[in-house]
Amino acid sequence: MKMRGPIVVGFLTGAFLLVQFFVPHQSLKKIYEMLLDWGVVIGTFAIVLGLASLFRVHIDRIRQRRRGYGYSFVTLASFFVVAGIGLFKGMAPGGAFQWMFAWVQVPLDATVFSLLAFFMASAAYRSFRARSTEATILLIAAVIVILGRVPIGGEWTDGYLPRITEWMMIYPAVGAKRGIILGASLGAIAMALRIILGIERSHLGGE
């Protein structure tokens, strides 16, 4: 009961979704949509669990006066302010909720995203020092593409570099990516079969 029940649930859900792909009949599509909604319902309960864990981490830190517990106040306070306004006042444009989105969340998102410009430089520098054949090929390809996509690269090489770049992008690069996709899909399908058939059950308390 502790394990067999969930395995049956997993099998029925997975097998139904697999079969319904081949069945265009409207009645099955309706059940499919219903299962999607079920996922949202379960997700709603899961969110309560998730938020409980978030609160617990920070409340414990404050209660036990652990190092840096003051920062936990920042998280909890900002959470309750934004959630309170958003849940009770709604997400209307021009309101406080949208203000916080535009001036807190968006700039933070954009700034963390832009850190990547620095991180790409440091990552490239590291592979430059690695000096393995693989790293060298990667760097050469990257340099060709970077130069091939800026105007100056085309001017220096009489327009050859942009053409080489494009050729690399649509042929050998696509070939390797396709190899990854083909292999990964076989792996994903095999793993999904393993789960549906209950062979892989570590998420259900199995070994």
Binding site: S53, D109, F119, G183, L186, M191, E207
Partner: protein, 413 residues
């Protein structure tokens, strides 16, 4: 008596009173038919066809502007579903219906004063509001029952492929129970033992990131399974596994996986639910939080497994700043370059799915890899065969390209 019926009777009277060709009256459409739409495999569509008396001339000052189609489940509950502008009668497919129901249909011919453009109601585009509109309705026809199909023949190639691969997998699994199988070393997974050793020696935690996906993503599922097998290995050493999650359901699943893994490994006390926690579901909010955790907890080893997007390099480069040993695994092909340049080991694509089998050393799970290999050989054989056939038929056998195209059609979804 509804207006529709009044029109119908009026139309019937017109038909009775006048001949067709050359008549100076507003003639309704002819030969209206309604039937199940065979192309709507879901069974949610009907097809309505009609014609119009050839050579019929509308009264002076009027023109035939279009047709309006009404559909309903009862004769007296018809609702307009479409207005077809233009004089050429045609077939109309009506969708979004319910399978297995009976539908009645009616077609009206719409006449407007010459030179006047048709205008529609703003709220309901199926209501024509042009002043001077004259409507001639044909008789209501039907009912036609919508019929759903239980199989889509266009997907036969997918079905055959999935069945074939499933059978191969099951046969190999069966054989595997009796035979030892060779699996080539995968550097990133061989390094896992060293990584655990490093964390134990340094007395620092292991950070496990299972990507951006939810439980609905296969790569996240793969990442969660790897976590279970990893916990099996760390349990005897008492390493702390810190698992921040971006999704609550993933967090719940990872708690279950970890608590069971420690239990099966004989160290239930090693499980600490608070080390598996939800942070936020925002991509960069999560990345920032993980970066902060890395700087404060200084994990000896970072695992990045599952589905990643642009935040991959924020995570991996922060890990580099604190000199963690880093093992990544993802099938997101756009992020592999960044993990390769920033991590010590990277499991690419299929290797992520192989990881749980590899770490568990369970013969049945390992057999899965054999099945995948057979799948790859088959895919490769189809590709080579297809290319050779193409070349041979193109260059040697001049007229063979249609044959190749037919074969290619089999691959086309």
């Amino acid at each position: 008596m509804t207006a529709g019926r009044a029109l119908l009777i009026a139309a019937a009277l017109l038909i009775a009173g006048n001949g067709w060709a050359g008549s100076e009256e507003f003639a309704p459409p002819l030969n209206v038919r309604v039937a199940n739409d065979d192309t709507a495999l879901a069974g949610d569509g009907i097809k309505i066809s009609w014609s119009y008396a050839a050579g019929h001339k509308p009264p002076e000052g009027y023109r035939l502007a279009g047709f309006r189609v009404l559909v309903g489940e009862a004769k007296d509950e018809l609702g307009a579903v479409d207005v077809v502008e233009g004089t050429a009668p045609r077939d109309l497919e009506v969708g979004n219906l319910v399978v297995g129901r009976n539908y009645w249909a009616q077609v009206e011919a719409l006449y407007l004063p010459s030179e006047v453009v048709m205008t529609y109601d703003r709220q309901d585009p199926n209501q024509v509001t042009t002043p001077g509109l004259k409507v001639a309705a044909a008789e209501i026809v039907g009912p036609a029952q919508t019929v759903g199909r239980w199989y889509d023949p266009a997907l036969t190639n997918v079905l055959v492929g999935v069945l074939l691969f499933s059978i191969i997998t099951l046969v190999v699994l069966y054989v595997a129970r009796r035979r030892e199988m060779y699996i080539r070393p995968i550097a990133g997974l061989q390094a896992v033992d060293d990584a655990i050793g490093r964390a134990t020696e340094m007395g620092r935690p292991i950070l496990y990131i299972s990507g951006l996906g939810g439980t609905g993503d296969v790569s996240t599922i793969a990442a969660m399974l790897v976590l279970g097998h990893l916990a099996h290995k760390t349990a005897p050493y008492g390493n702390r596994l810190v698992v921040p999650a971006i999704d609550s359901m993933v967090m719940a699943t990872e708690r279950e996986i970890l608590s069971q893994a420690y239990l099966h490994a004989g160290h239930p006390e090693a499980y600490n639910a608070e080390d598996v926690f939800y942070v936020t579901d925002s991509q960069f909010g999560y990345a920032t939080a993980v970066a902060g955790i890395m700087m404060r907890e200084r994990p000896a080893v970072n695992f990045f497994m599952g589905y990643f997007a642009a935040e991959s390099l924020v995570l991996a480069e922060t890990g580099n700043m604190i000199d963690s040993l880093q093992i990544a695994g993802t099938d997101t092909d756009t992020q592999i370059p960044f993990f390769i340049t920033a991590c010590d080991y990277t499991l690419m694509g299929e290797e992520l799915y192989a990881a749980s089998a590899y770490l568990s050393r369970d013969p049945i799970l390992l057999a899965q890899l054999k099945a995948q290999d057979i799948g790859k050989v088959l895919v490769g054989a189809v590709l080579i065969g297809g290319i050779l056939a193409t070349l041979v038929t193109t260059y040697l056998w001049q007229d063979g390209s249609s044959l190749v195209e037919q074969m290619l059609g089999w691959l086309k979804p």
